[in-house]
């Protein structure tokens, strides 16, 4: 048995869910970023897998999207971590449960 698209999708779904778990259930802000990175990576895996299993030949759109998404994820990580640092400087905490100034 060679891996099929289904298998890749399941792997990526699992990775996505793990990322979601990290983003939803951990209290440290950096964990949320880690989770988001994992979710993005899962999406990239989907793009590449769909590209690979699509009828050939075709333009490498999936690969391109993945490349762009990696670039955007890098920017996202940089900004997100900068935010974490400046939030930490301001509030002296990185616990997202304490960062609830927007509480209604």
């Amino acid at each position: 048995m060679t891996p099929t698209l289904t298998l890749f999708l399941i792997i990526s779904a699992a990775l996505f869910s793990i990322g979601l778990l990290a983003a939803l259930s951990r209290r440290h802000a950096i964990f949320i970023l880690i989770g988001i990175e994992m979710m993005l990576a899962a999406a990239n895996l989907n793009f590449i897998a769909f590209w690979r299993f699509a009828p050939q030949p075709q333009a490498p759109t999936g690969v391109m999207v993945a490349i762009f998404s990696i670039a955007i994820a890098a920017a996202e990580a940089a900004i997100g971590l900068a935010l974490v640092i400046s939030v930490y400087r301001h509030y002296r905490t990185t616990n997202v449960e304490k960062l609830d100034q927007l509480k209604g």
């Binding site: 979601l20 983003a23 939803l24 259930s25 997202v96 609830d100 100034q101 509480k103 209604g104």
Partner: protein, 657 residues
């Protein structure tokens, strides 16, 4: 060369625009560089305008345009372009030429101002925007440039922003013209909806050409009126004229630019440009929209002239004179004398610039005093300014034969006399001409004759950088009349595309005598009334009530303050009141009801009737917490909700497919 300029017409506005950006970028602390760059840009634009002017001379009725697609959305494509015809070419030359001399004048007038180079950047920008209006072959492009003109005027009128009056004036100008622009914008939308194109000329498919106009049908009149409301705002037509006198708060070269070459000309130009739309379906040269234009113009012309009689500020008089003259142009356009109106616009551009620069020179000489009651006797002190100003005054009053304004005014009167609908505008126009001569005579006498009063005592002649533009414009004002006379109506035929014939016999026409009589009456009355006028005005002495009425601009500003502004203020107060009392009260009531429930349940609890009440109170609190928890401020909760929502969508999608 010719075809090159036709393909690169955009370079004309681009030159001052580029200079403007360059000045803003480079010449922050180097004022000489700023003014030099601005003048270079204007010279380039003038050169290009002259180059563009040449081909329009060769063929009568010349018209060429170049369109391209700006961007495409869906199946529609938004197309813009530029057009060159006698109307645009003549305007280009006038704007760049007059503008150039205003720029030169400004280097003297603004010398020493700390924002000197910024001023020139704005001037260049202003000029660029107006040139864009002129060459636009698309109502969209025209509208964009139109708004840029508005922006530039906003920046320039409020240039001395530290003066509260300037800040108020600039706001007023901006908002008033914006009211007209709403109409213009609606007209543009309607036009686009009706004809499917915003191009003026597109090889037969433009909105001013046969197909486009036929597609509009009966709605053309309404569209024309909406567009006219924009023109009225920019050109200071009644009842949107109120910004124009206040715009005098800007530096005098700005006033000259606004009144002569750029801003107010835009409205007249717009009507002239859209004339096919206005006159579409005309019976005997009369359409409903044109009738409105005529009456608005008449009211404006007469009102402006009347108010001008009672003003004391030298620039304000000129401002009301501009309003009056613009009304005149509008009347001319409305009665079908398009060429006459545009000719008057061009001639007015020259002599009004001359007058404004002259007044600038006077103000500069009198150490920034603007009240004519404090001047007098400047004839000897500032001879060059006096001569130039006198030429401008005579052109504006319409002294026949030598002065350009006379011929164009005469032609307008001629056109008005033949309007089939009603003779009233003609008579009112004649009254306006008399009044024009009257108030100009008054101004001349107060400023230049008699004995020097306090402001004029220490006056001095302006430096040559300011007088040379005056001389040039004065010469042009006289020279221009050569192509305006009925004997050789070259400009008229250039604009209409008919061949011009030289016939000295037509020089003297009956209308000339009418005009002569009117002007003589105006000047004569002026001399009679004001020959001894000094500090106090004879009119104020004999008719104090009328004078006060006119001095206070017919209380139009106050009327607006009492009506439109008061309504809007009332409405906002009403909203505020509603917000404070009704909505807030509603919220408070609900909150109060909640509090009441709390108090009641607390009371029950206090009295300790039974544990069940305790329970229900706790339940209420729990419910409150549950609702508040939705706004926990916790990002993870939000993300969780998003995830659940995504999941629901996913399942729903899979379910449905």
């Amino acid at each position: 060369m010719t075809s090159w300029i036709l393909a690169h017409l955009w370079l004309i506005p681009a030159a001052p625009l580029a200079m403007s950006l360059l000045i803003l970028g480079l010449a922050g602390s180097r004022p000489r560089t700023g003014s030099a760059l601005a003048i270079i840009g204007q010279v380039v634009a003038l050169g290009l305008a002259v180059v563009a002017f040449v081909p329009t001379l060769e063929t009568p009725g010349f018209r060429t345009f170049q369109n391209f697609t700006w961007f495409t959305f869906g199946e529609q494509a938004l197309r813009i372009g530029w057009v060159l015809d006698p109307l645009a070419a003549a305007m280009l030359v006038m704007i760049t030429f007059v503008g150039l001399w205003i720029f030169v004048f400004s280097t003297g007038y603004m010398a020493g101002d700390k924002n000197f180079s910024r001023f020139f950047a704005y001037l260049s920008f202003f000029s660029a925007a107006m040139l864009g209006v002129v060459i636009a072959n698309s109502l969209l492009l025209l509208f964009v440039c139109w708004e840029l003109v508005g922006l530039a005027s906003y920046l320039l009128i409020g240039f001395w922003i530290h003066k509260p009056s300037a800040a108020a004036a600039t706001k007023k100008a901006f908002i008033t013209t914006r009211i007209g622009d709403i109409g213009l914008f609606l007209g543009i939308l309607w036009l686009y909806g009706g004809s499917g194109t915003l191009l003026f000329y597109d090889g037969g498919n433009g909105c001013l050409e046969k197909t486009g106009l036929l597609a509009l049908g009966a709605s053309a009149s309404f569209i024309a009126l909406l567009i006219f409301s924009g023109a009225a705002g920019k050109s200071g037509q009644f009842p949107l004229h109120v910004w124009l006198p206040d715009a005098m708060e800007g530096p005098t070269p700005v006033s000259a630019l606004i009144h002569a070459a750029t801003m107010v000309a835009a409205g007249v130009f717009l009507v002239a440009r859209m004339y096919p739309l206005f006159s579409f379906g005309a019976l005997d040269g009369v359409t409903p929209s044109l009738t409105v234009v005529v009456w608005i113009g008449v009211v404006t012309a007469l009102m402006g002239a009347l108010i001008a009689v009672a003003q004391a500020d030298i620039k304000r008089i000129l401002a009301y004179s501009t309003i009056s003259q613009l009304g005149l142009m509008m009347v001319s356009l409305g009665v079908g004398g398009v060429a006459a109106g545009i000719m008057h616009l061009l001639a007015h551009g020259f002599f009004k610039a001359l007058l404004f620069l002259g007044s600038g020179s006077v103000i500069h000489g009198c150490h920034h005093e603007q009240d004519i009651r404090k001047m007098g006797g400047l004839r000897r002190i500032m001879p060059v300014t006096f001569l130039a100003y006198a030429i401008g005054m005579m052109a504006l009053s319409g002294v026949p034969l030598l002065f350009s304004g006379a011929w164009t005014k005469e032609e307008i009167l001629h056109a008005t006399a033949h309007w089939p609908r009603s003779p009233v505008p003609y008579y009112l126009m004649m009254a306006g001409v008399v009044l024009t001569a009257l108030y100009m005579t008054r101004q001349m006498i107060c400023v230049f004759f008699g004995k020097p009063r306090e402001a004029a005592e220490r006056a001095h002649e302006s430096p040559s950088v300011m007088t040379i533009p005056l001389i040039v414009l004065a010469v042009c004002t006289i020279a221009l009349s050569a192509v305006l006379t009925p004997a050789w109506p070259w400009l008229h035929s250039y604009l209409t595309g008919e061949p011009a014939q030289f016939d000295l016999g037509r020089l003297i026409q009956p209308m000339l005598f009418v005009s002569l009589a009117l002007v003589a009456a105006g000047i004569g009355l002026g001399i009679l009334f004001y020959r001894n006028a000094g500090r106090d005005d004879p009119l104020a002495r004999s008719q104090p009530l009328l004078f006060r009425f006119l001095e206070n601009k017919m209380w139009l500003d106050e009327l607006y303050a009492k009506t439109v502004i008061a309504w809007s203020a009332m409405f906002s107060k009403l909203s505020d009141w509603m917000d404070r009392h009704i909505w807030d009260g509603l919220a408070r009531t609900i909150g109060g009801a909640g509090q009441l429930i709390g108090i009641v349940s607390a009371n029950f609890d206090e009295r300790g009737i039974n544990a069940g009440v305790d329970e229900s109170a706790a339940g209420t609190r729990g419910l409150g917490r549950l609702i508040a928890a939705r706004h926990s401020g916790r990002i993870q909760t939000y993300m969780g909700v998003i995830a659940v929502g995504m999941l629901a969508l996913l399942v729903l999608y899979a379910w449905l497919t």
